[in-house]
Symmetry: C2
Subunit: 316 residues, 2 copies
DNA sequence: GCATCAGTATAACGGATCGTTATGAAATTC
DNA sequence: GAATTTCATAACGATCCGTTATACTGATGC
């Protein structure tokens, strides 16, 4: 005995509503269609599903049991419909994001939580990487979005990128660092303190080298390297060390009052923090929703960040 | 977005098996049918359900979620099919039985438990009544089976009845009753003890009257009446009272060693304990299964009951 | 890199059945 | 018992389903 699932759903609707007419209405069908289905079901099952001649239509125990299974299907069908609807408007689905570790930890993960306040059924899978890996991951459809600093002149060959922040770097230290006492710390002073090197592969590492070259320095004291953002911050908290960081990361930590930036301008490449998407492949609506959320989130922050930068670096 | 439930089931089958061909096979369909369904689904949903160009067919998150709902439906459909199968062979369903209180309590309820050892999914609804009520309940389709004593000449007008036991009555008392010490208690002795009257409406009550008439007695000491079987037995356990009971009820209590029957033959009508069914209306297979179980159950007991009767009443 | 192969998409077709409107029958309600 | 509601049946057009046959595409082998 194999059923057409729709028949069981119709049965369920009739049992639930207590009438053929109402059951049909519940499903948006005409009454004769449902009536015929019921007749057919009873014939096929070979057992009565309803007690005949009672107007508040009453199912037999078998009819009731079958209707329960029909209800399960009806519920599942409804859920499936809802799922598609919510997926279409970006209210459900999966967003796979990848980004550089510091940015993700400092700025993006918190945004994820905020995003899910309005999109609770969207799952976010986060992973880490630097630009080359991220680009490859995008093209291999392993992630939907990459959030990382890219050189502005870099061409994305099939990748769309939206700039969300200028990619300015600063020298970070703890707020009790002695260099902060000087009005105008000189680059040469930077060589007096131990340094934390950004993770290998990080653009920050290249930036650090450029920084050194701009001083004419050939060597600094690297005391620690390879840690995550939290590692670095905890190290900075405990020593008068220095490191190079995107300003926005320092900005994100401003409330903690543990680290800040030295009022020194350092060279920075023409780079911007951007969201990268594949331009060709179809993206789940939730992905676009999330990207838009991040973009506007940073837009709202932009002047705050700028003022913070001016205040910290320029002492305005 | 409304789905044809079968489409979601086909999707589920494909996701589950990892291939269109295998999914189709799982459902007993040809591959093109399922393939077309998937194309159609993707077009209707407007989002990809599978990652293109991967041979171990891999669903997108949306496809996977939809497939989960499809699996629910598939499971419900399978369960519904199983339900009908088990119903057809009497392995599931509801059996509504009605009967005289003493018989039900003493003999039938225990059989119900035994029956359900082999038919765990059959529910049994028991109710009490005497022949006129039971016949009415049968005809009104409130019960499926009635188990009660009926006069053999009674004609069941649309009711089929199967005799399961001779309807012999005995005088019951506790096993320490003084009358049991006499080899041949005389009817007149019965008047010396207090009596428990069977419930009003019970055929036993009529039998008790007939018994009195046969003694020429006009009055006995009725001390208690209206109780259930357990009431009566507990009363008997606590006093040297007497009552009239079907022998089979005493038989059923033999293991308890609390009550027995006096070795006195008393008049009994041409009556038998029988199972009554409506002959016209369709019965659920489980009903027939149960009726047959009861019938053969008593058939197996028949000679045991007969020997018990002879031993107790005739002292053989 | 090309050939082979398994699995998938597409096409065409016959038929089942679905949903509709129209109408009759049955039961409930007043 | 008449009116009304609800259910069953009939007829019909159209959709969609499942089938076979066939072309296509990605995987696998050397």
């Amino acid at each position: 005995m194999k059923f057409d699932e729709r028949h069981l759903i119709q049965l369920a609707a009739v049992v639930k509503t207590g009438g053929v007419t109402e059951g049909a209405a519940l499903l948006g069908l005409a009454q004769p269609a449902v009536s015929r289905t019921l007749s057919m079901l009873e014939k096929r099952v070979g057992e009565p599903l309803f007690i005949k001649g009672r107007r508040p239509l009453q199912p037999t125990p078998l009819g009731l049991s079958l209707a329960e299974h029909g209800l399960v299907m009806l519920a599942a069908s409804r859920k499936a419909s809802d799922l598609v609807e919510s997926f279409r408007v970006g209210k459900s689905g999966v967003v796979r994001i990848g980004g550089t570790p510091f940015f993700m930890d400092a700025l993006i993960t918190g945004l994820c939580a905020e995003f899910q306040a309005s999109h609770p059924d969207v799952r976010i899978d986060q992973s880490y990487g630097y630009f080359p890996d991220l680009r490859a991951a995008l093209k291999a459809d392993q992630i939907d979005l990459a959030i990382c600093p890219i050189d502005i002149l870099d061409e994305g060959s099939g990748l769309e990128f939206q700039q969300i922040l200028p990619g300015r770097n600063v020298v970070a230290c703890r707020i009790t660092h002695p260099l902060l006492l000087k009005r105008r710390p000189q680059p040469s002073h930077l060589l007096d303190y131990p340094w934390i090197a950004p993770p290998p592969g990080s653009p920050l590492l290249a930036d650090l080298r450029a920084l050194l070259l701009s001083f004419g320095a050939t060597e600094i004291k690297i005391r620690f390297s390879g840690g995550s953002l939290m590692s670095v911050i905890n190290y900075l908290k405990a020593a008068d060390a220095l490191t190079i960081m995107p300003h926005s990361v320092v900005f994100a930590q401003r409330k903690e009052k543990t680290i800040t930036a030295l009022p020194i301008t350092i060279p920075h490449p023409e780079r911007a923090l951007a969201i990268l998407k594949r331009i060709d492949a179809p993206r789940a609506p939730a992905v676009d929703q999330f990207a838009e959320f991040v973009r506007t989130g940073f837009q709202d922050l932009r002047h705050l960040i700028k003022r913070h930068e001016e205040a910290v670096i320029w002492g305005i």
